[in-house]
Point group: C2
Chain length 433, copies 2
């Protein structure tokens, strides 16, 4: 029998429409790394009777329940009380924890602890305390008797940055030991991350290579990229064969469309590597993306090595003043055109003395489209000391998605050219909406 | 008995760590609008036996189950098959749907439909088809016999933009009718959206006004803002009293810290209103935020009315070239300083001819900090034709959070000054990490 691990996430904000529940994802992701799958993910609100009934349901079908949320200082944080009642263990003040919290406040926040935080030092008697290196709320683990067996209940805070570190530093090592995780039980995985091909095309190209039954193939449309995951147990399908299959899949999908084979390496990080390795400096000029391209390029620590700066030229006037775009080009071709994209890229490259100039000008919508240049039309300009080119793209979607897609397209064009790969024809620049 | 509605979200990517599950949130949010609460949210992977067992569990405890996902064209899309088996209704091709899909591909994607999409026109016999105005996969609704009662199963696609429109246009009207939703069953809600005060402070200030028992108070830390929701049934606590309570809460927290009282009105939209109403134009100069401030200011359609453009000046050289920052100021005070923030704001305002110039310069980290200016130090500059000021802020967190917090702080300073509100002292500029 595989271990049965469930996740309970508490918080009224999760069921009344205010919050996206993302903590179960974080736990699932961490467990997946050592081959542990989650069986049930359940969400419930902050009422103590609902936390108790959810816990009661899960402890009957799971041998480990990981609870996230409800360890905070406010009146609706009731996880410790619920676990105390369901395990019949009273809450006891932990002095060491209290002192740690008081010190944390002075050091990290520069102020004394609010008295409301004191309840975060209460724990069910007999539990094991799980330290929180990133915040005030420590977690705890306690065994509870269920109908047929004992169930390990692990309570963790709901703040994602705290949850993440506590799962990796305390929970995972404990679960690996509890379930005696052997290498043979850990799935091998291969990931292909794809941009500029629609999901249905990826699906049919991949079906054509007929992956064997032992390999699980799954797709994820994570706008604007598509992720394919191939997964197999080493005993059923050796790692080397999985690698070869992944390579066949990559060729079938189109080698140039796959920008990464790692969940840890996103498009910005791929660009980061290219810029650092090839000692390229870059300057950018953005219109419809309004800063999005720059914020992607500077997301990575160390981006100051290659990113010199840029201009956000929303108005025509600013295109002329900041980038030297000619009024004639704006008049003859319009702001959204090959010519203006070229002049923007060249202008920003020259004015900041960068090796590459990259520009985007387009119609993000919802207004501003025309028959000739409908909403979703954009041009990417790329200039280096030898030449300046522009690419015409079109992506019919909402304002937000057009902007994201345009910024990705610009980065992808740089990736392709820096790696000697072809640029897709504009009719293929549609991707998935 | 309140209606019992559950949500099932399918997708291996949700349990193997690749995807955040956000669709249940979207459904919950829509249902909350008409006072319907969700009882269970369950996630399961793409295996048909797991979809079937999850459906079987939920149909026994719910009278409506909303399923999202698994209606796509790929081999792991098996929701229609699972529902067909569990309801003992075979899958039948719907010609009208097929034709609609073929037309959709030509019109929206500019290419013929991939044959793999054909299975999206198969539906369990006797179901009601739910049109999809935004994509290819239509949904469907079918009644299934459960142990004691009949359960309505509603299958919808997993693509969020499609799910959203189908829930609001088809599912909600049907559920309102089914459950005869009366006004008295619909909760009144008041929301306070807060920036620049930590959650624990908000919590203790709010506890101090002792909200009555009939009002549910919940908190959500949605970085970098804090949301407080007050909720009550009209029969138990009248809407006008709830409004008055919310006003008292606002004063207790600090009137100036509350930037919005609506989930539909975020900080960018508040700024949008201010700029449009006061006919203000703005230009920006960003260093450590690298474009994030610009992308926030241009997120809203119609931002070209007030946003003229900006400069992303990552290097010292670009600060001098693009903004006229003096080499002397850089040398004497460093790039992260009051003086450089002031010069950046003034420089960009003058060069683009805007009413306001707004700048950010800081140390986002993880490298680049010093004893005097540790990681998390940033300065916001604000210039208008009469004066130029700069504000010193500090937020000790990760690179990503420092950047987000800095962009929010800059926008919040503009909001405060445009509304005659005080600027918090730098020691309060810490917020919640």
């Amino acid at each position: 029998m595989p271990p049965s691990i469930s996740v309970l996430v508490t918080g009224s904000e999760l069921l009344d429409g205010r919050a996206n529940e993302t903590n179960s994802h974080l736990i699932i992701q961490a467990l997946a790394e050592c081959g542990l799958a989650v069986e049930h993910v359940l969400s419930c609100d902050d009422q103590i009777q609902n936390i108790k009934s959810s816990l009661d349901f899960l402890r009957r079908c799971s041998d480990t329940v990981i609870v996230s949320g409800g360890l905070g200082p406010t009146s609706d944080d009731l996880t410790r009380e619920a676990i105390s009642e369901i395990s019949s263990k009273e809450l006891v003040l932990n002095r060491a924890c209290l002192e740690h919290m008081e010190a944390f406040f002075m050091k990290r926040r520069g102020r004394a602890m609010d008295p409301s935080n004191q309840k975060q030092a209460l724990f069910p008697a007999g539990c094991r305390i799980i330290p929180n290196p990133a915040g005030t709320a420590a977690g705890f683990a306690i065994e509870i008797d269920a109908a047929q067996r004992r169930c390990l209940v692990i309570a963790l805070p709901g703040v994602p940055s705290e949850l993440r570190i506590m799962v990796s530093e305390s929970v995972l090592p404990a679960l690996k030991q509890k379930y005696q995780i052997a290498e043979s039980q850990v799935y091998n995985r291969r990931v292909l991350r794809i941009f500029s091909v629609p999901e249905s095309t990826v699906g049919s190209r991949l079906s054509a290579i007929k992956p064997p039954q032992q390999v699980s193939v799954s797709y994820r449309a994570h706008f604007p990229e598509i992720q394919v995951m191939l997964k197999a147990l080493p005993a059923e399908y050796p790692a080397l064969e999985l690698k070869a299959l992944s390579e066949r899949a990559r060729q079938a999908i189109g080698n140039d469309h796959v920008f990464s084979e790692s969940l840890e390496l996103d498009l910005c990080q791929v660009l980061h590597q290219i810029f650092v390795e090839q000692a390229i400096t870059i300057a950018i000029a953005e219109s419809c993306t309004g800063g999005l391209l720059g914020s992607m390029l500077t997301y990575q620590p160390g981006s100051s090595k290659y990113f010199l700066g840029g201009a956000i030229t929303y108005s025509n006037e600013s295109k002329v003043k900041s980038l030297g775009v000619t009024p004639r080009a704006l008049e003859q071709h319009g702001a959204v055109s090959f010519e203006v994209a070229r002049q923007m890229a060249q202008g920003v490259r020259q004015s900041l003395g960068a090796r590459l100039g990259l520009s985007i000008t387009g119609v993000a919508g919802p207004e501003g489209g025309s028959a000739e240049k409908p909403v979703g039309t954009f041009f990417v300009g790329l200039s280096d000391p030898h030449q300046t080119a522009a690419y015409h793209c079109f992506f019919n979607s909402s304002r937000d998605k057009v902007r994201t897609f345009a910024a990705w397209t610009a980065l992808d064009i740089v990736r392709r050219l820096s790696s000697g790969l072809p640029i897709p024809h504009p009719s293929q620049c549609r991707g998935n909406s």
